[in-house]
Amino acid sequence: MCVCVSVELRCYINPSTPCHTTPHCTISFAILTTIQTSFLFFLSHFLIMDKIHSHRQVAVIKHSLFDQGYLDEQFIQLEELQDDANPNFVEEIVTLYYRDSSRLISNLDHTLERNPLDFNKLDTIMHQFKGSSSSIGAKKVKAECTLFREYCRTRNGEGCRKSFQQMKKEYAILRKKLETYFQMARQAGPKETALRPK
């Protein structure tokens, strides 16, 4: 757009006469300025709207995580601990959780292969997993952990195995959703820049 207008402007400039004395030049310059200003106006609005839209998308994802019961109040508690100096606190905690979880899941896998099953050991490991799941607000995972521990208590090996499979599924789903959530949140950037008036 700018190129077309400047070409048009150049048509009216005669090298031999000073630009500002040519009436056509003045008018074209005025048109150019108006068009450029309007363009920038719409562009900046578009960028702001895009930012707001991205933030809205992040909010939508977050809402569904809560509505569908993947996360509970504890996640919000953690978000409230974030500030400018610690903007990625929740993501750091969740990353730690993934690391701990991988270790504990692997441990549970091995312990479930034993014959006969060591229910006390299974319960101890699951207690740890439940604890960290609870600390990040992983509601569904935590519920599966509770179920698993109940099966341990009643020495129900089959129940343990089924519950473990279900728990791994829930964990995988949650992990995927959280990864998407954090990625979108990072792309959307800090909220303040989107809403701060220029």
Partner: protein
């Protein structure tokens, strides 16, 4: 006791409580550290009871003569830990002449009444249910800060069984702050212990 009061008072000038947090879970350690930092505390985090004793110089390795006790105003420990449980750590701290006056708060994900009772009877200041919230931590640290002001009331077992008086108001604050949705199961007052005693004597 001179040694105990040295340990109990916060650093002069800094105004910050020094809290020792003990938890075997990496996630929980990071969370409690953040909660305490936000509550304007200096934090030391360790991963086990034995590490905590090591830090406090209670592991028997260093001789008490010439060893400068580390200054800690509050100890927050998880209950269920491999090796030494939070309860065992609590007992060791209360057995120590240097650190017995330091308030100990026990944290647990399990709301087991007998567990809560035994911790409180052993001298725990408070029993917090996990996941621990910022409001819990702030309440505890505020309480400890205030306690620094009214030092002089030495809390002992006999206090718990005495009839309600003005001196036991600080005890009831501690008891009433056992936080959990099922608070109904645990009557939060010194009279709970009193009634237990009366029931047993009948």
């Amino acid at each position: 006791m001179a040694a105990a009061s040295d340990v109990f008072m916060p650093e002069v000038g800094s105004g910050k409580l020094h809290v020792l947090a003990v938890d075997d879970s990496h996630v929980d350690r990071k969370v409690i550290e953040r909660l305490l930092k936000i509550s304007s505390c200096k934090v030391t985090v360790v991963e086990s009871g034995s590490r905590a004793l090591q830090y406090l110089g209670l592991d028997g390795e260093k001789s008490s003569i010439g060893f400068d006790s580390v200054k800690v105003n509050l100890i927050m420990t998880d209950y269920s830990m491999p090796g030494m449980t939070g309860y065992e750590l609590l007992k060791k701290i209360k057995e120590s002449s240097v650190f017995r006056e330091v308030p100990v708060v026990v944290m647990s994900s399990e709301n087991i009444l007998t567990r809560i009772d035994s911790c409180l009877e052993e001298g725990a200041e408070e029993f917090l249910l996990k996941p621990v919230k910022l409001s819990d931590v702030k309440r505890v640290t505020d309480f400890i800060m205030k306690g620094e002001g009214k030092k002089g009331h030495k809390r002992s077992r006999s206090d718990d069984y005495s009839p309600p008086s003005s001196s036991s108001s600080s005890i009831s604050t501690a008891f009433s702050s056992v936080s959990h949705p099922c608070d109904l199961s645990l009557p939060a007052s010194p009279s709970a212990l009193l009634s237990k005693k009366t029931r047993l004597s009948i």
